[in-house]
């Protein structure tokens, strides 16, 4: 096993301390990563994981933190990411960072030379090398496609390819699986295993503990900017991880929820069809379902299956054909305002892109769009707003210094809760949740599940999309399996399994393929 103590450390940090204007992100971290291992870096939201890998990559340059770093035994001082690259350190950041206006190939080899004679770049060479790399790691994305036309998950994969393209000795992946679903994760793991076999060392950050069990050799758990535990593979155990991260015992992961008794549907969707739009989305055909008050409906499926589009259509964000009724009354939804007026709320899947308002503080982020009741004649009551914000923050345990704090520096989980608070403030009857636990740590996840169940118990109709099949199966009363913009299977709580979903999807794809009598192309892009 590569995690055995015999192999020398490739990355070592000693007493790394990093603070941001009064926020202590790291309080003296000693990390040791050995050659050839896949090293899990665990911790709750805000524990300092991203900060640590940013330091190891020169994103936070030498001088902006204290402590020592050694790479392959030699002390290093990275002034920029290129210094880190020169030492063979590769990095896949947590947030999606791509060049939207450029092609996939240009993104993958951005900043690299040797793509033609001397300083020249040969388009052909660039595409060839991208194709070769993709073949090697099992990606089926057209190197010539514009990145602007890719989905979030595909962009993530392009970022991974970008890090791999210069053959790093050490690769650090900051929540690479947060927007991937089971199949894609498996494929990514295959790549990581192959890299490991070739002698690469990896740091792998995730909140999905089963992934740690599946692929990692050792784990370091951060807590409040300190190392709380170092755990070898032999001692791996989800409960132990959670205790190290939070100091609490593992709670029952999915809170108990009785499916509501039969009742007329609160939300009915009929014949929902969305035209595929070139480069932006690929369409949904003839989707219909009902959700009762108090029911949690899950939409399961693979990446790009159309779940997000369904939610966006119901919320009036993309044009569609079909009928939507709330409590039996047909409603016309053309824009978000119509959906809100009908009592529908949406939590979007991409916090950075269409969730947070980075120019407004925490409080205003929560109340935006919900100021009506907090104002009289258009004038916002400071007092009402403040108490509403504090109440919302308290009830969801949003950890921010004050309602005036900047949202940019909240950890991912707290950002997610903040958005929940915003969505709930309007008192929706129908709640659409797209990846509600994306990037959220285990204990916060539990709080979110609790919240979902509480809402259901109050009679809210919920539609939940989640890429982790285990999660969607655990939380939903009833599950629809979406594949290629159609509903291909349905099962009740306790009747489904990850296998069943995957089989339904595969069957749907096979049927589609049969129709053209050609084999399906396996790809994760």
């Amino acid at each position: 096993m590569s995690g055995d103590t015999a192999s020398p450390p490739v990355i070592e940090t000693r007493a790394v301390v990093k603070s941001f204007a009064g926020v202590q992100a790291l309080r003296g971290v000693d990390l040791t990563v050995r050659a050839g291992e896949i090293h899990a870096l665990l911790g709750q939201n805000g524990a300092g994981k991203s900060t640590l890998v940013k330091i190891l990559n020169g994103v936070h340059p030498a001088g902006s933190f204290s402590g020592d770093i050694r790479v392959a035994g030699r002390p290093v001082s990275f002034r920029s990411t290129s210094d880190a690259r020169a030492e063979g350190v590769g990095y896949v950041p947590q947030e999606i960072e791509v060049l939207e206006q450029l092609t996939v190939a240009e993104n993958v080899f951005a900043g690299q030379t040797g793509l033609g004679a001397g300083v020249l770049v040969s388009q052909r060479r660039l595409e060839e090398r991208t194709r070769a790399l993709f073949a090697e790691i099992g990606l089926a994305i057209d190197p010539r496609a514009l990145v602007a036309s890719l989905t979030a998950a595909q962009r993530h994969l392009v970022m991974i390819a970008r890090a791999l393209s210069f053959r790093p000795r050490v690769l650090m992946l900051d929540e690479p699986t947060a927007s991937l679903s089971g199949v894609e994760v498996e494929r990514l793991f295959a790549v990581l295993r192959r890299l490991k076999a070739q002698g690469s060392t990896m740091i792998f950050i995730t909140h999905r503990l089963p992934e740690v069990l599946a692929i990692c050799d050792r784990a370091t758990v951060l807590r409040d900017g300190r190392v709380a535990a170092e755990i070898g593979r032999e001692a791996f155990d989800a409960e132990r991880f959670i205790f190290a991260m939070s100091g609490q015992r593992l709670q029952r992961l999915y809170p108990h929820h009785e499916p509501p008794p039969p009742a007329p549907p609160l939300l009915s969707v009929r014949n929902l069809t969305i035209a595929g739009r070139f480069g932006v989305n690929r369409g949904v055909s003839d989707v219909g379902f009902d959700v009762r008050p108090g029911e949690i409906l899950g939409l399961a499926g693979l990446l790009g299956s159309g779940r997000t589009e369904i939610l966006h259509a119901i919320y009036g964000r993309i044009p569609f054909a079909g009928e939507i009724a709330i409590a039996g009354r047909p409603v016309t939804i053309r824009k978000a305002g119509d959906a809100r007026a009908a009592g529908i709320a949406l939590l979007t899947e991409d916090r950075k892109r269409d969730g947070l308002l980075f120019n407004l503080p925490v409080g205003a982020n929560i109340t935006i769009g919900n100021l009506g009741p907090l104002a009289s004649r258009g004038i916002v009551s400071d007092r009402k707003e403040k108490s509403a914000v504090l109440a919302a923050m308290r009830s969801l345990a949003v950890k921010a210094r004050s309602p005036q704090s900047s949202v940019a520096h909240l950890s991912g989980g707290n950002q997610q809760k903040l958005l929940f608070a915003r969505v709930l403030m309007s008192g929706p009857r129908v709640l659409l949740l797209d990846e509600p636990t994306k990037g959220v740590d285990a204990s916060t996840r539990h709080e979110i599940y609790r919240l979902i169940v509480d809402l259901a118990e109050k009679g809210v109709a919920l539609v939940v999309v989640a890429s982790e099949l285990e999660e969607i199966i655990g939380i939903a009363d009833r599950c629809l399996v979406v594949a290629d913009g159609r509903i291909v299977d349905e099962f009740k709580r306790g009747e489904g399994s990850e296998d069943r979903v995957l089989r339904a999807v595969a069957a749907a794809q096979a049927a589609a393929t049969m129709a053209t009598a050609l084999p399906a192309s396996g790809r994760i892009g």
């Binding site: 941001f20 978000a336 120019n359 205003a364």
Partner: protein, 351 residues
Amino acid sequence: MERTVGRPATAETSGRAMRDRLTRLVAVGEVGVLLALVVIVAFFFVLEPAFLSERNIRAILRVVSFVGIIAIGQTLLLVCGEFDLSVGAVAGLSAVVSAKLMTALALPVPIALLGGVAVGGLVGLVNGLAVVRLRIPAFIQTLGMLFIGQGLIQVVTNGYPVYPLPKVIGEIGMAGFVFGLGWSFVFFVVAAISADFVLRRTVLGRNMYATGGNPEVARLVGIDTARMKIGAFVTVGMLAAVAGMFVMADLSSGTTSIGSGWELTVIAGVVVGGVSLFGGAGTMAGGLIGILLLQVVTSGLVVIGVNANWQQIAVGLIMVIAVGLDVLRRRTFIAGSGSEPPAEPASPAKP
């Protein structure tokens, strides 16, 4: 921060609140530019006490009131995430149109003035519709409108000042109530206070920040971002018209050069005052202090007798230094000492 276990909660809370208050104080956009303003005023005053003479203050405030009226609109528009380069031409156009209405067409003065405001509003509406509905970048649309407006001024006047104007116009311009300042200043102050109130205290203002901060999110929470932006364009157009007509009253003449060159000075002023060119950040007070700062510098350099050739150089330098110090302040107090670029969105870090 929030997970600093092991410390007594109360002490932590109060220390934290203190720090928060401090951070918030220096984080406010206005503080930096206000400080710069105070230092510069003091500097000029020491060199030449006449700088703070009643008359000079009055003259400065008078000019500031003209450009300031436009700056109010421009700040609102910038908060919504757009900007308008046509304000100077709109000011000039509205002035000469209303002048023509009250002379060539002999309309009653109030009607003619309303006509001028209507011209400004109309231009603003066209700008807004083009930017929002046709998605023409504001830079191009409003620069095009700057040319169109300048051309229309020539068409309307054939190049000659519209003169003489009805007596009452001159009287409006001459009026000197309120510290000898008169109508334009009163209008400016009232408009500034109202706009500040709207931005800080109303749902509308909040929605404007959201629109400028991230229109996608604003739409998702049900804000009609199109109406927001078009409204802001119309407002800035009408305010530009009012400013132009006040200058006209001040000169008692519909001069064709009213407003020429304002397009960049107005934006420069409010940006110096911390309003972001990228939308969603900045305050009314900041924007107006910025405009005042530029006017104080221009005026002060003349008062202390700096050679004309060096005045422009000094204006350029001071503008850059004021913003530079402000950037430094933000970096030091808000983002820590880190040299990496923080995702510091409330700052106009790169308009």
